[in-house]
């Protein structure tokens, strides 16, 4: 099962070469642009790293390889950074389970402490995106700007208020309701699955804070118009009208008609 899943994800040789060439050219610039991210906010001790390694070997190595070099069942984690571990394990996506085009979220299986230890281990292998600083996660930014950025960069996949959207081949951009500020930030940083990476040159940390602020506003303020029907737009509205609106009225007409006979 796992194998088939992976084979379908493997790209043809030509594409790999093109991407490799592209990386070669853009890599330099990218390294400069993202260098801010890669300096870890917290320095990890050797002890933490070895604790993290133990957890990793026990829980993750079966898929990601003993040295996180990757295997048929999971990609290499070298250079994905602590942010990626925090996102993947912290949202319950990892340790992976089941198969399909996109691994589903489950209940989180590790404590924050354990997650950060595993993050420390992965970060020690190679530099990668670090856990974001708390000051960008307070939702104290500019919601208007955040909303604008969200509509331009995120809404095409996640829907205008993050109520989910379909991608191709059974993949989807999930509903963002209930996402923690930290995970929103990290998602932009690492671009899980089909989601693009929004690095700091693209959307600055302050911009990311604005987006978080906008999403927090939506979460805290239910629609002024009443129940929201899942924020799914006209389809939900149309179904509601046919089933409950017209349905109710037809039921009343039937009742009226029956009474008069």
């Amino acid at each position: 099962m796992k194998n088939r899943f992976f084979r379908s994800r493997r790209k043809p040789l030509a594409a790999t070469l093109v991407i490799a060439a592209g990386l070669l050219f853009s890599g330099g610039g990218y390294a400069v642009a993202t260098s801010v991210v890669e300096t870890s906010a917290t320095e990890y001790t050797a002890e933490q790293i070895s604790e993290g390694r133990k957890l990793f070997l026990a829980n993750c190595a079966s898929c990601h390889g003993l040295n996180s070099e990757g295997s048929a069942a999971g990609p290499s984690l070298i250079g994905v950074g602590a942010a990626s571990v925090d996102f993947q394990v912290g949202t319950g996506r990892m340790p992976g389970q089941g198969s399909g085009p996109q691994l589903p979220k489950k209940n989180v299986q590790f404590t924050d402490e354990q997650i950060s230890l595993m993050g420390a281990y992965i970060a020690s292998l190679a530099p990668g995106p670090a856990i974001p600083e708390q000051k960008y996660l307070e939702a104290t930014g500019d919601a208007t700007h955040g909303g604008e950025l969200f509509r331009i960069n995120c809404a095409m996949c996640h829907n205008a208020v993050g109520a989910a959207g379909a991608l191709t081949e059974g993949k989807y951009a999930p509903n963002l309701e209930g996402s923690e500020a930290k995970h929103i930030y990290e998602a932009m940083l690492i671009g899980p699955q089909n989601m693009p990476v929004f690095n700091d040159a693209n959307i600055t940390p302050q911009d990311k804070n604005d987006i978080i602020t906008y999403l927090a506003y939506l979460e805290e303020n239910p629609s002024a118009g009443g129940f929201e029907l899942g924020n799914l737009g006209p389809v939900a509205e149309g179904l509601f009208l046919w089933i409950f609106g017209l349905g109710l009225i037809v039921a009343i007409t039937v009742w009226l008609g029956a009474k008069s006979n």
Binding site: T144, R151, A164, L229, G238, G257
Partner: protein
């Protein structure tokens, strides 16, 4: 004259007013005539009323909205109550729609009532249309009124679409962009038409004001005129009724319009009004503040039109997208043209159906007694095929949501829908026709032998029989009173030629009436009764006597 004066003295103010009007405008005569019109009772006859009342709600709420809405595309900086848009640049149209929602007292309720009743208007009209179709109410003399009703449905779509675009939010802008794309897809003239409509390059600065003119003036005026014609024709033709004792093609059975029916209808208006208001007060519709101001670059996931435009969006989604053909320097995007032409053809077929059926049956009689759908198997089957076709297109407008919520691949959903669009109507046609015939056969059985009671009785000589309960007169009427058509025979015309038309007509007629179950005749009924063991089948007269 003198007698009227006397009554007015007795009747008080109301009667006095009536008399005043009568003496000057002869209203009395009209009212008396009008009041004596009869309207039969059946729930399905109230669907048109629901549409009418929704339109009244649209007029009331729409008028409220015009007081505060400003149809201008000039850019302003928003400084209203909705925090996540404060300081954003947007058109006056959008800003004023936000103000209606957040600042005008009762504005949100009215906006939502306007939009919910718009959805209800078209939905009720659509259901009403289906009722008319499946009961054959469009037959002579009501073919023209079918066309008027059809126009009302189209105008409802037009009103909805023009209104949907007024708030100038991202969602409606995306909708306009799609229309713009479709128009530009029209060969040769597309670009010219588009820049004519939008006053230049899309989106321009004109379109909202233009749509506003259409939305509050032209389209509602046309709807009003068509409603007037529609109702006038209903009064002239009188309403149809379902078959029953004493109901024939020559009469109408029901309550007189005055006062019973009008009182009922008035009450019913408030029921519809109440339902719409209750929904509008509790459920958000079109949260324009979520979508943000229109900006040509972003398109959100879940961008869909209102339900009544959905089937057109679905057609665009299902059409193959890689069929651009270049001829003589013009590109013909068939991914756009097929849905465009296809939907027009579909609407055209809906519009002309009554004429086609009349031609096929060759029936020139007037019909005031409705068909039960099963008694016109092919018409019902065609209707079912049409509903399936429309339904698949409609569902196709939400392929993305279906994919997310049923965790399917978007690509698979599309392919399945494409196949269903073609195969679905055929399957629906066959199943429906067979079901109708089976139901007719069952009816025949019931008429001839009564209803099965499940009660087994042993007769003195040892034979067991199941007791069949005879039908009462009302049920009997329902089951035997329908027209029986036979396929037309190809006959040469007066020049001794068999024209292509005649052949086509014969072929269609065969399609319609080859498989048919004839209604029970009196002879058959008598025979059944004399043979029947069950003692109790009394002899209600069958069709021949009933309808006269």
């Amino acid at each position: 004259m003198s007698t009227t004066v006397e009554t007015s003295k007795q009747g008080g103010a109301l009667a006095a007013t009536a008399n005043y009007l009568d003496e000057r405008a002869g209203v009395g005569g009209i009212l008396k005539n009008f009041g004596r019109k009869v309207f039969p009772d059946h729930w399905s006859f109230m669907l048109g009323e629901v549409a009418l009342y929704s339109f009244v709600i649209l007029l009331i709420s729409g008028t409220f909205l015009t007081f505060f809405y400003q149809p201008a595309m000039t850019e302003v900086i928003y400084d209203g109550a909705y925090v996540p848009l404060k300081g954003a640049q947007m058109s006056i149209a959008y800003a004023s729609s936000l103000d209606i929602s957040f600042e005008i007292r009762g504005g949100m309720l009215m906006r939502q009532a306007h939009h919910w009743s718009a959805l209800l208007f078209v939905a009720a009209a659509g259901l009403h249309m289906l009722r008319v179709f499946f009961t054959g109410a469009f037959r002579k003399p009501r073919e023209i009124n079918w066309l008027v009703g059809f126009m009302l449905f189209i105008l409802g779509m037009a009103a909805g679409f023009t209104g949907y675009s007024l708030p100038d939010d991202l969602l409606s802008g995306n909708g306009l962009r799609i229309i713009d794309g479709m128009i530009k897809g029209i060969p040769v003239m597309g670009t010219t038409i588009s820049s004519f409509l939008f006053g230049g390059e899309f989106p321009g600065t004109e379109i909202v004001a233009r749509l506003y003119g259409l939305h509050i003036l032209l389209v509602p005026a046309l709807i009003l005129i068509f409603i007037a014609i529609h109702l006038f024709m209903v009064i002239i033709h009188k309403h149809t009724h379902y078959s029953g004792p004493g109901r024939t093609d020559e009469n109408v059975v029901g309550y007189p319009l005055m006062p019973v029916y009008v009182a009922k209808a008035g009450g019913f208006f408030f029921i519809v009004f109440g339902v719409v208001m209750a929904i509008s007060a509790t459920f958000t519709i079109n949260p324009i503040w979520n979508y943000g101001p229109y900006d040509p670059s972003p398109v959100s996931a879940g961008t869909q039109p209102d339900w009544y435009i959905g089937w057109l969006d679905g057609a665009l989604r299902l059409a193959p997208s890689n069929l651009d053909v270049s001829i003589l320097g013009y590109t013909y995007p068939f991914g756009v043209l097929i849905p465009l032409v296809g939907s027009l053809v579909f609407l055209g077929l809906v519009a002309v159906y009554p004429f086609v059926e009349a031609w096929v049956t060759g029936d020139k009689r007037e019909h005031h007694v409705l068909d039960r759908p099963r008694n016109a198997p092919v018409r019902t089957a065609i209707g079912a095929a049409g509903v399936t076709f429309y339904g698949v297109l409609w569902a196709a407008a939400s392929t993305d949501l279906i994919a997310v919520f049923f965790q399917m691949s978007l690509n698979h959903v599309l392919t399945v829908m494409q196949i269903t669009l073609i195969a679905g109507p055929v399957v629906a046609y066959i199943i429906t026709k067979r079901t109708c015939l089976a139901l007719q056969r069952k009816d025949r059985e019931i008429v001839l032998h009564g209803r099965e009671t499940g009660r087994i009785v042993r007769l003195p000589h040892g034979e067991y029989i199941e007791v069949h309960e005879p039908l009462d007169k009302f049920e009997m009427y329902k089951l035997v009173d329908f027209k029986d058509y036979r396929p037309t025979v190809v006959r040469p015309n007066k020049y001794g030629k068999i024209t292509v038309g005649t052949r086509m007509r014969a072929a269609l007629s065969r399609l319609y009436f080859e498989d048919r179950i004839a209604p029970v005749t009196q002879t058959e009924l008598n025979e059944a009764q004399s043979h029947d063991h069950s003692p109790a089948v009394s002899a209600p007269a069958a069709q021949d006597q009933l309808t006269k």
